[in-house]
């Protein structure tokens, strides 16, 4: 295979992984929703919480959409196989994100049909189910899913579908694999940790900040349990390896651990990421005044998730393994777009730093003034 093509495949797996990593960071919005009634004890406090993480919901949503679009463009066989096969998991994820999209805007508006509480419950549901389901779905990148890909099927006029799911559960079975759920719960508690750190950073209210700091301890403990159990299992587990010569997929003991050893840069990213997450949390817990934990924890989250996803797809690894037919497993080589499309898209991706730049600028401009009770009570301002 052309070396440029191989480079482009790796580059696009990196970009998709980066989008996935940014998405996990931005799930702090969902984490905030799940803590709405835990941290917010009065209506004003709940309003402040909603306006704190809520003003960032479109970033999470947009990153999810772009993650989907980038996957479609760069690895269309994954889009076709996973979305069409694990139908119920993706439909559940979509349904709970639809609820989120309208709930911020509608919950405090008169005439909203269902009442304020219902929309807040929708936000709570999205806040809990969104991270757990996304984490569980990503868990299948390591544990596998039950599908068969046969491109020759297109010539069968009666049944030309090339990707088929090998069980009638269409993705729901992923929720019965402990390691998938373990990752889902780790993502969920991480989202809550980040939300607490963001509240501390973004809200000018002593009671909310105090409660957030207190709550951080228990959320961290739960996160560490699920994350470490998943990580240790991953490093010890057999992985789905690809023979670079024959393209045959086979089970290799300690594959993901070996990937980290063979890709030291990825290992460094993982270690720096985990250290960043822990530093952001621990210093916030220990210090009574430090408020910048979200930026260390957030950056750490992006690096950690990026390293794990690179581990899933790089170094001759099948990133979406099939446990129904091992040779149907998806690799970055057999599921990617053509060299021309990847090249065109790579030119477009040059604009990504510019996009990140204006996001940073606009985000900073809005966050310079903290959310406060006074702002929430102003009549003229737009608020959730």
């Amino acid at each position: 295979m052309d070396s440029t093509y191989i480079l482009l495949q790796h580059y696009w797996w990196f970009l998709v992984s980066l989008l996935g990593a940014l998405l996990v960071f931005l799930l702090f919005v969902q984490g905030g929703q799940s803590l709405l009634f835990t941290i917010g004890k009065t209506e004003l406090q709940q309003k402040m919480l909603l306006n704190s993480t809520g003003r960032k919901w479109e970033f999470t949503f947009t990153t999810l959409v772009t993650f989907g679009g980038a996957f479609f463009a760069s690895f269309p066989l994954f889009y076709s196989t996973s979305f069409g096969g694990a139908y119920w998991v993706w439909m559940l994820i979509l349904a709970c994100f639809v609820l989120q999209a309208v709930s911020y805007e509608y919950q405090s508006k008169k005439g909203n049909l269902l009442g304020k509480k219902t929309y807040q419950v929708f936000l709570l549901l999205n806040g809990i189910l969104g991270p757990i389901l996304l984490g569980t779905a990503v868990g299948t990148f390591f544990s596998g899913a039950e599908f068969v890909v046969n491109k020759g099927q297109l010539t069968d006029v009666a049944m030309p579908v090339i990707s088929t799911w090998a069980n009638p559960w269409h993705g729901l079975e992923a929720a019965f694999v402990f390691w998938n759920v373990c990752l889902g719960l780790a993502v969920f508690f991480l989202a809550r940790i980040q939300a607490l750190l963001y509240f501390i950073n973004n809200i000018d209210d002593a009671e909310i900040v105090k409660r957030s700091r207190k709550h951080l301890v228990i959320e961290t403990a739960l996160f560490l349990v699920f994350f470490l159990v998943f990580l240790v299992h991953l490093l010890l587990a057999d992985g789905f390896a690809v023979d670079p010569e024959t393209k045959e997929i086979y089970m290799q003991p300690y594959k993901y651990f070996i990937n980290l050893i063979e890709m030291p840069a990825v290992s460094v990213v993982l270690l720096v990421g985990v250290a960043g997450v822990l530093y952001g949390i621990v210093r916030t817990i220990l210090s009574g005044t430090w408020k910048k934990g979200i930026w260390f924890c957030g950056t750490g989250t992006v690096l950690t998730v990026l390293a794990l996803l690179l581990c899933a797809g790089w170094n001759n690894t099948a990133y979406y393994p099939s446990v129904a037919d091992l040779q149907s497993s998806l690799t970055i080589a057999n599921s990617c777009s053509s060299p021309f499309t990847l090249k065109v898209m790579s030119y477009v991706s040059i604009l990504v730093p510019f996009v990140l730049g204006y996001i940073f600028y606009a985000w900073r401009a809005l966050d310079l003034r903290k959310i406060s009770g006074k702002e929430m009570e102003e009549k003229d301002t737009h608020a959730y």
């Binding site: 003003r55 479109e58 970033f59 949503f61 947009t62 999810l64 959409v65 772009t66 989907g68 679009g69 980038a70 479609f72 463009a73 760069s74 269309p76 066989l77 889009y79 076709s80 979305f83 069409g84 139908y87 993706w90 439909m91 349904a95 639809v98 999209a101 309208v102 911020y104 805007e105 509608y106 508006k109 008169k110 005439g111 909203n112 049909l113 269902l114 491109k151 020759g152 297109l154 010539t155 006029v157 009666a158 049944m159 030309p160 579908v161 090339i162 990707s163 088929t164 777009s337 053509s338 499309t341 065109v344 898209m345 996009v355 204006y358 606009a362 401009a365 310079l368 301002t381 737009h382």
Partner: protein, 516 residues
């Protein structure tokens, strides 16, 4: 295991996609139109410093925000349904179709998401100039988003810039600019965005008229009407031009869609355009010789002129397209549907033979199969068609939707002209008939937009990708009951949210802008 694809699965998958797309298109046009109008109003505020325009902008922005969220939600479902319900399609053309979607995400959605937050929450946090820029960038982002998804849609109507790769069993892009700048894409983009501008203008004039009927918010209403009428008139005149361009492209690239739009079974030279007509329900087949119309009024030779820019040109009807044998505008003899189906079957078999030959390492056989495949690939999708009658889209739906769209388009021009003149002569405030007409035009603007999409999408059937892949071969292999379940789930969800949206809008409108 399912041994074949059930037709009910195809129908329910189509129904689910149509449901999502139609709901999505209830919200997007207002975003596109009202977004520009509020940006114009804020520009006036920026230039004049007049607080009246700030309050006016903020009121329309509030309604924009209520509408925007649900448009985003339905858009998310739409994007992922390409994978969930049309998995074969996603692989077969993902190499081309995915790129615009990804570019839409990277370049448009982030722009929209970033600056909409500044637009809503930044009034007192950023400078006036930065806020104005954010308002414009929000609508530019939304419009760019429309551009990329419409490029993708246009490619489905007119697939260009790609070639089939039998080794990967998919179509692969080789000319990005042919995809991005295809005449169908350019026309579709302008036509669709302009239709959104019209919805925005009608909405502003209609809501303002309601205030005038209630004798409140007079200054706000009259000033908003002035902006809306000018904006709407410009859009509605331009849309005539893009509409003509779209119809011309349909005639050139999708003649069966044009025939269905016109209820034209027997074509000919110097064909007239049906201005008004009532289809005959007794016509059930293209071969039954029943007159397709109970009555019709035709404008002589106009269809030939619009389709070929020549009043005497030949325009094929449904029967001609099925039976072939006529001379096309390229001077070739048109193939019949049966011949195309045969060529499609040869192409599919050649693909199977090619794959087998490659597997057997038989290069000679592979070369022969490849040559046969390339020769017949233009008709690949026809190989999945069982009956030539399946190539005819729903004539009634396409025919009536087209007329509803065109007639309403003409009415909008008239309304905007009258609104502008009455507004200029300071007579709008007293013209209750015009206020009522403006108010009741709001639902008509939505109906026109929906009708336009029905023409475009129902008229494309049975194809997902014109001539290359029918919907039946595009679908995901799921149990029909699963798709039925999600169909009703989304129907319930979208309907409840639509009712909620209307309820919030009505309350916000009743509360009013409080600028007078």
């Amino acid at each position: 295991m399912i041994a074949s694809i059930d037709t009910s699965l195809i129908d329910w998958s189509r129904a689910q996609f149509a449901l999502t797309a139609m709901y999505h298109w209830l919200f997007v046009p207002l975003t596109l139109g009202l977004g520009v109008i509020q940006a114009i109003m804020e520009t006036i505020y920026y230039k004049t410093g007049n607080e009246f325009w700030k309050k006016t902008t903020q009121f329309w922005m509030k309604l924009f925000g209520i509408n925007f969220a649900i448009g985003v939600a339905t858009g998310l479902i739409l994007e992922f349904e390409f994978g969930t319900n049309w998995s074969n399609y996603s692989w077969f053309v993902g190499d081309i179709f995915g790129a615009p979607l990804a570019i839409e995400g990277i370049l448009a959605f982030f722009m929209e998401a970033t600056f909409i937050a500044v637009m809503f929450f930044g009034w007192d946090k950023v400078s006036k100039r930065f806020h104005l820029a954010s308002t414009w960038l929000t609508i530019i982002g939304a419009t760019l988003s429309a551009l990329w998804i419409l490029i993708a849609n246009a490619w489905m109507q007119y697939p260009v810039g790609m070639r089939f790769n039998p080794d990967t069993v998919r179509n692969e892009m080789f000319d990005f600019w042919a995809v991005a700048l295809s005449p169908v894409a350019i026309n579709k983009f302008f036509h669709t965005v302009l239709s959104g501008w019209i919805v925005g203008a009608v909405f502003v004039i209609g809501i303002s008229s309601w205030y005038l009927l209630k004798k409140r918010e007079t200054k706000f209403s009259l000033e908003s009407i002035k902006v809306g009428a000018v904006f709407g008139l410009v859009a509605s005149i331009l849309i005539v031009w893009t509409g003509d361009g779209s119809a011309y492209q349909v005639a050139q690239k999708q003649p069966m869609k044009l025939a269905a739009m016109e209820g034209l079974y027997e074509g000919g030279n110097g064909t007239g355009l049906v201005a008004i007509g009532l289809l005959n329900p007794e016509k059930t087949s293209y071969t039954d010789n029943v007159n397709p119309f109970i009555f019709d009024i035709k404008i002589p030779k106009l269809l030939s002129f619009l389709a070929e820019r020549d009043v005497d040109a030949y325009v094929p009807g449904i029967v001609n397209l099925i039976e072939g044998g006529y001379t096309t505008n390229q001077g070739t003899v048109a193939l019949s549907a049966a011949e195309k189906i045969e060529k499609g079957q040869i192409a599919i078999q050649a693909l199977a033979d090619y794959r087998k030959a490659v597997e057997d390492k038989d290069q000679v056989a592979a070369g022969q199969a490849r040559a046969l495949l390339d020769e017949n690939f233009a008709y690949f999708g026809y190989g999945y068609i069982k009956d030539p009658a399946d190539l005819i889209p729903h004539v009634g739906l396409t025919f009536y939707s087209f007329r509803i769209m065109v007639i309403l388009g003409g009415y909008f021009i008239l309304l905007f002209i009258v609104a502008l003149i009455w507004s200029k002569k300071n007579k709008f405030a007293d013209a209750r008939w015009l206020q009522w007409a403006s108010l009741w035009t709001i639902p008509l603007a939505y109906i026109a937009g929906q009708a336009g999409w029905i023409v475009a999408e129902v008229g494309r059937q049975p194809w997902a990708i014109q001539d290359i892949l029918p919907t039946g071969a595009s679908v995901s292999k799921l149990a029909t009951s699963s798709v039925q379940t999600t169909f009703f789930l989304f129907l319930l969800l979208f309907t409840v949210l639509l009712i909620a949206e209307i309820g919030i809008m009505v309350k916000a409108i009743k509360k009013g802008p409080s600028v007078n």
